[in-house]
């Protein structure tokens, strides 16, 4: 299939921003805040439906950062200080691991607006990948980052199951930490083997389709090992990836092509997106084509909502054009 979706936290629309700012200054009630979140969630779901995305998310508007639902709700950790979110002018709260990680049932399901999800569409959910979580956390309990990664993978597995039971058909694991590597320190084969094992634990016994979404870094740097990761699809940030290098590999899995740049306000031309997508597809699937998804390179939350909405429409249109070519 040729499909499309968004890949993470969507920006809060203006009205919601205003209410959250007012709430932050004690100028509005919790009830009003909740009402505003609901309204905005309806809006961002509708935008995805209108654009014709193949999988729809709830927009994750409540997520203060990718790790926060866990930072705030898991036992064994506490919220630490603010830290820069990779190379963005955005900050996340560091999870500080102080004891064995233990999950309170379905952390993510609880903060997801399941009742607002559209009935006749396929649903997608997004979780932090075990490697990124372990890398960004401050580990004061486990013997090593590796051990922490495996412990978190177990927690994630229960999340994956509860999301799947709730009706989510597609689960994305966001793994910027795996490819963000500005100091160009080599990532060892052993480490990639550990990542593979952690992913296996994360998604064991699930029917949902899964994707490892990498961003903020060069996907080609984890090739060819990533081709063997036990997920259905591999997500690639094409604004950070060495495209030439990427095209030298043959894929036997689906790909999520991050061709829409969530870190610039310039709206892409769908024809150029289609052209580049076709070039990649031809190169990585020399004999047998697999499923291809068109998507943003990372969370669209870096943009004001209006611009993100325009980009969501481009994703829908580009996917339609691409699809016609393969019919």
């Amino acid at each position: 299939m040729i499909g499309c979706y968004v890949t993470g936290i969507l920006p809060r629309p203006k009205d919601l921003i205003e209410i959250t700012r007012a709430y932050d200054r004690n100028r509005t009630s919790k009830r009003e805040l909740e009402e505003a979140f609901r309204k905005a969630t309806e809006k961002v779901i509708e935008a995805q439906v209108q654009a014709g995305l193949s999988y729809v998310t709830d927009g994750m508007l409540k997520w203060q950062d990718l790790l926060r639902p866990f930072t705030e709700n898991l036992e064994g950790l506490k919220a630490g200080s603010l830290a820069r979110w990779f190379n963005n002018n955005t900050f996340y709260r560091k999870p500080v691991i102080v004891g064995p990680l233990h999950h309170a049932e379905g952390v993510v399901v609880k903060i997801t607006y399941i009742e607002l999800m559209p009935k006749n569409f396929l649903w997608k959910a997004v979780l932090p990948a075990p490697y990124t979580f372990a890398k960004l956390a401050e580990n004061r309990f486990y013997k090593s980052e590796r051990e922490l990664m495996f412990a978190f993978a177990e927690v994630l597995n229960r999340e994956v199951k509860s999301l799947s039971e709730a009706g989510f058909k597609y689960i994305q694991l966001s793994d910027p930490g795996l490819v963000y590597n500005p100091l160009e320190e080599d990532i060892s084969k052993d480490k990639l083997a550990d990542v593979k094992e952690a992913l296996r634990i994360t998604i064991k016994n699930t029917d949902a389709r899964t994707c490892l979404q990498t961003f903020f870094g060069d996907f080609a740097k984890i090739l060819p090992e990533a081709l063997d990761f036990p997920v259905d699809d591999l997500g690639i940030d094409l604004y950070e990836t060495d495209m030439k290098e990427l095209k030298e590999h043959t894929f036997e899995k689906g790909v999520a092509l991050g061709l829409i740049d969530a870190r610039t306000s310039l709206v892409e031309d769908e024809n150029e997106i289609v052209k580049v997508a076709n070039e990649i597809v031809e190169a990585i699937y020399p004999s047998k084509m697999r499923d291809v998804f068109i998507c943003p390179n990372c969370d669209l939350e870096f943009l004001p909502w209006e611009r993100a909405e325009e980009k969501i429409r481009v994703i829908g249109r580009a996917t339609k054009i691409l699809e016609r070519g393969y019919r």
Binding site: T264, L266, E272, F302
Partner: protein, 384 residues
């Protein structure tokens, strides 16, 4: 400066409520007006009746707003003088904020709206939609006013090119590069360079030229975003941008950077040309008990700058701007003495808060600065 450990501020001071409201054309509350008058008396300002009248009858005119800016700048100048600082400015009272002030006064930009910084905090982010053009000066009037109202040495805070570009969507140059460069990654990186160097050439250098003409002797380039992208390519870009900005001017330049990765910055600091001082944040990382030596964990990274061969001066952050904790003079003294030991030559150390004191109330800021000045004096005595 022949004195050891000269004291300086970094930039912003909180804007008093009366300044914010009156500037918007609203009447400050009675308490706010009383507060204005009280501070005016503490700072020894004259003609406070005139200010009181202004505040009681706000107008929505350009002249009125100018008068409010001047009053509030004058307050900040006297505030720093009274605290006893050697090197001052006006607490950036003329500026809405370090980023917005420059972007709003430069052509080629459009604000797109708020994007998330963290939690329920956002910042108003602009896009560069046309080639940046310098149509009017944005710092000169403020500088001249400061110069005319103080006898102290002046250091002008100046938002740097790397930060302006990093905090802005780069639409114009990315669109421009579309036809030339097919590869997305290369296109973005090329467009980023073009943007930064145009900004320097078209806007920042002309403004520096005008500041120097108006009598500026020392400009501090503020680059909070300096280590946001720690890759070698980006750090080289940051260094090149700094060097290009200050190249050839007959003026003292320095750099301020805070809440950043100093391990990275230290590696590149010695490549900054014509940079007389690095003003850095350390107090925020440090313990609060007195003592010289191991206690001073916050200053460990100073060593890295030395090890990497940086030879310029330091603006040593000895006051934490993110807490109301009042640093005792003895703590300030010990931080200075500890740093002097690491650096070896005490003449290379200037003393300042970690960053602008914008988030602190004036009462707190005043005592913090006062103690900083006393602490510097204690450090001088200790070395005599």
């Amino acid at each position: 400066m022949n004195k050891l450990f000269p004291t300086q501020e970094i930039g912003s001071l909180a804007k008093p409520a009366w300044r914010v409201k009156a500037y918007r054309g609203e009447t400050p509350s009675r308490e706010e007006i009383v507060e204005a008058v009280e501070w005016g008396r503490i700072l020894g300002l004259e003609n406070l009746e005139a200010l009181k009248k202004l505040l009681e009858k706000p107008e929505k005119t350009a002249e009125y707003r100018k008068a409010i800016l001047q009053w509030s700048a004058l307050y900040a100048i006297r505030f720093f003088e009274k605290a006893g600082l050697d090197i001052i400015f006006d607490g950036e009272q003329w500026r809405s904020e370090m980023y917005e002030h420059v972007i709003r006064n430069t052509e080629g930009f459009k604000f797109l709206g708020y994007v998330k910084s963290f939690d329920y905090r956002y910042f108003n982010k602009a896009a560069c939609v046309g080639k940046p053009a310098y149509t009017k000066s944005f710092y000169v009037e403020e500088f001249v006013f400061t110069k005319n109202n103080t006898g102290k040495m002046i250091k002008v805070p100046f938002t740097g090119p790397y930060t302006l570009a990093d905090w802005t969507f780069n639409e114009y140059y990315e669109r421009k590069a579309t036809a030339q460069i097919k590869d997305f990654r290369q296109r973005k990186s090329y467009a980023r360079r073009e943007f930064i160097f145009d900004l320097i050439k078209e806007v920042l250098r002309p403004e520096i030229g005008r500041l120097i003409e108006a009598g500026a002797k020392w400009i501090q380039i503020d680059e909070p975003a300096a280590t946001t992208n720690p890759s070698n390519e980006e750090m080289q870009l940051f260094v090149e941008a700094f060097n290009e900005t200050v190249k050839g001017f007959n003026c003292v330049f320095s750099l301020h950077n805070c809440y950043s990765n100093y391990k990275i910055l230290a590696k590149y600091a010695s490549q900054l040309r014509n940079c007389s001082q690095l003003a850095l944040e350390f107090a925020n990382r440090d313990a609060t008990q007195t003592g010289v030596g191991e206690t001073r964990i916050g200053y460990n990274e100073l060593k890295i700058f030395e090890e990497n061969g940086y030879q310029g001066n330091y603006g040593l952050g000895v006051v934490d701007v993110h807490t109301d904790f009042i640093e005792p003079p003895e703590l300030v003294r010990d931080r200075i003495l500890h740093a002097a030991k690491i650096v070896g030559n005490p003449n290379r150390i200037f003393v300042n808060p970690d960053c602008g004191l914008r988030t602190r109330k004036w009462e707190i800021s005043f005592v913090k600065l006062r103690n900083m000045v006393v602490g510097a004096e204690l450090a001088r005595k200790a070395l005599q």
